[in-house]
């Protein structure tokens, strides 16, 4: 059960940083959820949230939902003991702007995200593949299939 965050705090921080089109809602399971319409604004929004007291970027990951890549950032303020989840949508093959300037914890996670969903990465100090070799498909996209049971038994 996520702990909800004060919306006005977030709204003020995001407005001050000039991040428009950010929708702040309460998700029943995830707690407070900020959805950014423009994925290019992610670094700005995260920098603003860091200034607002969210010290840690806990988690960075993506998901392939309805033909789009959904990048999710989970932030935490240890002093206030609250979480906030920030989310943005990207098209396949789009460019993800790195947030490592404000949160160094995204260093490896962003590389994995881009590699696994076939995105390109800008603004990262070391934008290389992390887990797989060159030429491997972006595995976590829905179109990449796995071996079926029959294929498995055929091989063995």
């Amino acid at each position: 059960m996520m702990i909800r965050t004060d919306h006005t705090l977030l709204q003020t921080a995001l407005d001050a940083a000039g991040v428009s089109a950010a929708e702040i809602t309460d998700h029943p399971q995830l707690g407070t959820l900020v959805v950014l319409a423009d994925s290019g604004m992610t670094p700005t929004a995260l920098a603003a949230l860091k200034a607002a007291g969210f010290e840690q970027l806990i988690d960075t990951f993506g998901a392939d939902i309805d033909g789009q890549v959904q990048a999710t950032y989970r932030l935490r303020s240890l002093s206030l003991n609250v979480d906030v989840t920030l989310r943005t949508q990207l098209d396949y093959g789009a460019t993800l702007r790195s947030v490592t300037d404000s949160y160094a914890s995204a260093l490896l996670a962003e590389r994995e995200l881009c590699e696994m969903f076939g995105l390109t990465l800008t603004g990262h100090p070391n934008p290389k593949r992390l887990l797989t070799i060159d030429g491997a498909p972006p595995f976590l996209r829905k179109e990449v299939g796995l071996r079926t049971k029959e294929e498995l038994w055929q091989n063995s």
């Binding site: 049971k149 498995l152 038994w153 063995s156």
Partner: protein, 154 residues
Amino acid sequence: MRGLPTGIFKSLRIAFKNLFRPNMVIQYPKQRAIIPERARWAVEIKPAQDGSHRCQACRICEGACPHHCIKLDITTAEDRSKHIDHWWFDRGSCMMCGLCVEACPFDAIRMGHDYELAHADPALLVLDLLPDTPAYVRPKPARPVDPNAGDTDA
């Protein structure tokens, strides 16, 4: 290294003490560790009272296995009774999660306690657990015995 290095002498004292303590190893091929009742190793057929098997070829275990390491070759006769040709079990890809045993409604299989499963030849890892089933399985089996009341997984 201010003063005397007393810490390393404590460490040495323990080492000398250990020379006179009983050892803590199990000499594997001669002594065996105690295998608990619940230990899960390779899948095996659980024999019924009379030594026969209880498999009704329902294929639930096949569906329950995450790694697809169980495969049943079943022939259905004209009277809709089933005959198990092979009960393939791929020991090499089995991860001993026990889901097939939990799923089995007839209490026909169990997780064995034989843990020396290594083979030099990978072909030997695929076993036929029911190689010579004598007769057709009746089309309508008796009421299933649920082995596990808390069983929830498919």
